[in-house]
Symmetry: C2
Subunit: 413 residues, 2 copies
Amino acid sequence: MNMRRTIEQSILKTARSFGYSEIATPTFELAELFIKKSGPEIVEQLYLFRDKGDRELVLRPELTAPAIRFYANDLYKLPKPLKIFYLGDCFRYERPQKGRFREFRQFGAELIGTARPEGIAELINLACSCLSSAGLENFQLRVGDLKILNKILAAWDIFGDDQRRFFTALDKGDSESVRLILEDSGRSPDDVETFFDLIQNKVNSEKFNERKDLLLSKFPELASDLERFEKVVEFLKILKVSNFTIDFGIARGLDYYTGIVFEIDVESLGAEKQVCGGGEYSLNELFNLKELTSSGFAIGFDRVVLAAENEGVVTTKEDLDIFIISLTPPGLQKGMELAGVLRQAGFKVEFDIKGRNMSKNLKFASGKGAKFALFLGNDELEKGSALIRQMTTGEQTEIKFDNVSEYFKEHIV
Amino acid sequence: MNMRRTIEQSILKTARSFGYSEIATPTFELAELFIKKSGPEIVEQLYLFRDKGDRELVLRPELTAPAIRFYANDLYKLPKPLKIFYLGDCFRYERPQKGRFREFRQFGAELIGTARPEGIAELINLACSCLSSAGLENFQLRVGDLKILNKILAAWDIFGDDQRRFFTALDKGDSESVRLILEDSGRSPDDVETFFDLIQNKVNSEKFNERKDLLLSKFPELASDLERFEKVVEFLKILKVSNFTIDFGIARGLDYYTGIVFEIDVESLGAEKQVCGGGEYSLNELFNLKELTSSGFAIGFDRVVLAAENEGVVTTKEDLDIFIISLTPPGLQKGMELAGVLRQAGFKVEFDIKGRNMSKNLKFASGKGAKFALFLGNDELEKGSALIRQMTTGEQTEIKFDNVSEYFKEHIV
C-alpha cells in the first residue's frame, strides 16, 4: 500500500499540473448504463445485482460511462473545455491472472468540449507523464486514427457486419482474416497491399511523412484527416512525448471511438502488457447530448504498480524511523512525550506498548526496520538526555532531550 | 475531491507517523462474515448479491471484520503488536441524510496483540491526531469502559436479556428504562443512584479520582479495572490528548467490545455528530483465533470532511496557476514547450486547446481561477520573452523565456 500510495500521489499531482480536476462517482450504477454503452454481451462480465428497491445495479466495470453520466447530469454547466480525472476501483467477472483482477483500480481522464489536435495531443502527453511520474521509463506509445480507417473502409464499401468482422479480426491480431476481408472488397491487389501495410506495420513518427504521401496518392479524400493527424504528431513532439510509433492497426474493441486512438504497452508485463488505452470518442447518443467532442484514456493502475515493481523504481518497504525503549515508568512517560514531538516533526515513531525487555524490544525494532533506537534508562533521565543507537552500525550517542528532534532532522533523510 | 484528497493525505501521514501500516481489502466479502459478526439483523442494511459462482456476497458495511479476516488469513505471522490502518468505501442500505450516505468512506486502525494501557492510549491519541491533522479543532473525546460496566451488571445479577435491554436503552439514551432495569435488581436506592450517576454523567478527566474513590467504596471488586482505566487516563494526558471526558455511558451498540471504549463527536455536525468510535474488542471466536487482544477505531471520513468544511479549515477551490495564451502557431509551439517546463516545476498550467480569441481566453482563465496569464504574441516571440499578467491586479511584466520558471517560483507560493 505504501508503494501504491506513492505512485497514486505522483499520478494525481501530474493530472492536476495539467489543469485537470478530480471527480468521483459511485461504486455501483444502474446496469443499463453499461449495457447501453457496450451492448448486452457485457453482462457476462458484470457483477449484477438488485438492491432492496428492486433496481438492477452493477459494480462499475469501467469509469468513462460514469464520468460522462456525471457530466450529462451536472457538469455540463461548466465552461469548456472541461478536463476531469478520476481514480477508482472497477469490477469485472473474468478469470483472474497476473495483471488482471476481478477488482482492479483504474485511473482515467476525460477532455470534454474540444476537437482540436492540441487537446488530444495534450491528453496523450498527460497519459505518458502519468506513467513517467510513476517511475516507468520503458513504455511504448502507439497512436492511430479510427476515422481514417473507417473512411477507407467506407470508400471500399466495407460496412455493417463486414466492418465489425474487420475490427474484431484487427483487435485479435488475426491478420489473415483482415487480409481476406480487404481482398473481398474487389480492390486492386496494389490497393489492398497499401491498406494492409498501413494497418499491419507500425512506423516511427519520423517516417510518417512517407506514409502520408503514399496514402494521399491512393486516398486523396483523406487529405484533411491526414493533415490533422500530422498536426497531432507534431504537437506530441513539441510536448516532448518521445519515441512513439504510428499504428493504424489500433482497433480498441469499442465502437464509440471516433478519431485518434492510442495505446501504451509495457513489454515487461508479458501477456497483459497494455497499461493505457484511449482516444477520441462520442457517447452523445447514449446521454442525449448535443454535438460534443470528447477524448479520454484509462490507465490500469495495478499494472502500472506491477511494472514499477518490475523496474525496481519504487521501494516497497515502509521503514520505521525511531523506536523508543524505556524500561521504567518515568522513562515511559518521557518516551511518550518525545514520541509526540517527533511525530509532529514528521518522523515515524513507535514506543514499546507491549512491556517487553530490552533485547525483545531491540529485536522488534530491528524487525520493523527502525533506523534508530532511542533508550530512556534511569541514568539518561537523570542527565536529561536520551541514548540514541544507529541500528545498522550500532553506534551510540547521548543527546539532550531538547536537541533530539534536531538530531534526527540531521540524521534521517 | 481536492479537499478530500488533502484531508486524506494528512490522515494517512499521521497514521504512518504512529508506526501503523496501511492495508487494503476487497470491496466485497462473503456475506457470512458480517452476519456472523453482527447477527442476522444486519442483513436489513446490507447490499447482498450472488455472483456467477453462486456465492453470497456483500458490499462491505464496515472494515474491522475484513481487516481481522485478513489478519487471520495472512497477517497473523507478523510480529506483535501489529498496527494496521485502512481507508476504503463501505456500503449500507440506509435512509441517506446529511453525513449518512449509502456509500461512505471509512478510515480505521487496528492494534492487534497487546492488552496494555499504553497501546489503547496511543490508539486514542492516533484517532485524535488524525482529526487534528484534518484541521478539526472542535471535537469532543469521551472515554468509557465496558468491562467495568459489565462487572457491575454481573455483580447485580443483570444478565442475558436484561443486560441486552440495558445496553439497548443506554445506546438510545433512554435513561428511564436504564433506571428501571437498575431498580429491578433489588439493590439499595443509594447503590442504584451511584451506578446511575456513573453512566449518566460525564466528568472531566481531572475529576476522575473522586469518581474512582466513590466507585471503589461501592464496588471493591473493580480495584484493578479502575486502576487500569486510570493508567489510560494518565497516558492520554502525557500524550497531550487534551480536554476529554470520562463517560461510562458509552454502549457502542456492538457486543464484541470488551474493555475501554471511546467516541468522538463534532457538535457542529448536528444529528450525525459522531465522527469516530472504537475501543478494545475481541473477534477471536469468529475467526478461531487464540487469545488475542485487539483494539481499533473507525472514523467517518465524509463527516470529517463536512466538519472541516463547516470549520472553514480547508479550501475547496482548486486554482490554476498559469494560463498560456498564444494567438499564432509559433506562439502555440512555444506555449506548449513552456507548459511542459512549468508543469515539471510543479505548477498547474493550461494552454488554449480550443483556439479561442484573446478575450474569450482571458475569460476562461479567470473562470478557472488562474493566478497568471502568460501571453505569447509575435512581438514577445521576437524578443524571446513572454508577457505575464497578474490576473487580479492586471499588472503586466515582460520576462525572458529562460527566466519564466524562476519568476513563477518567486510569485506563486
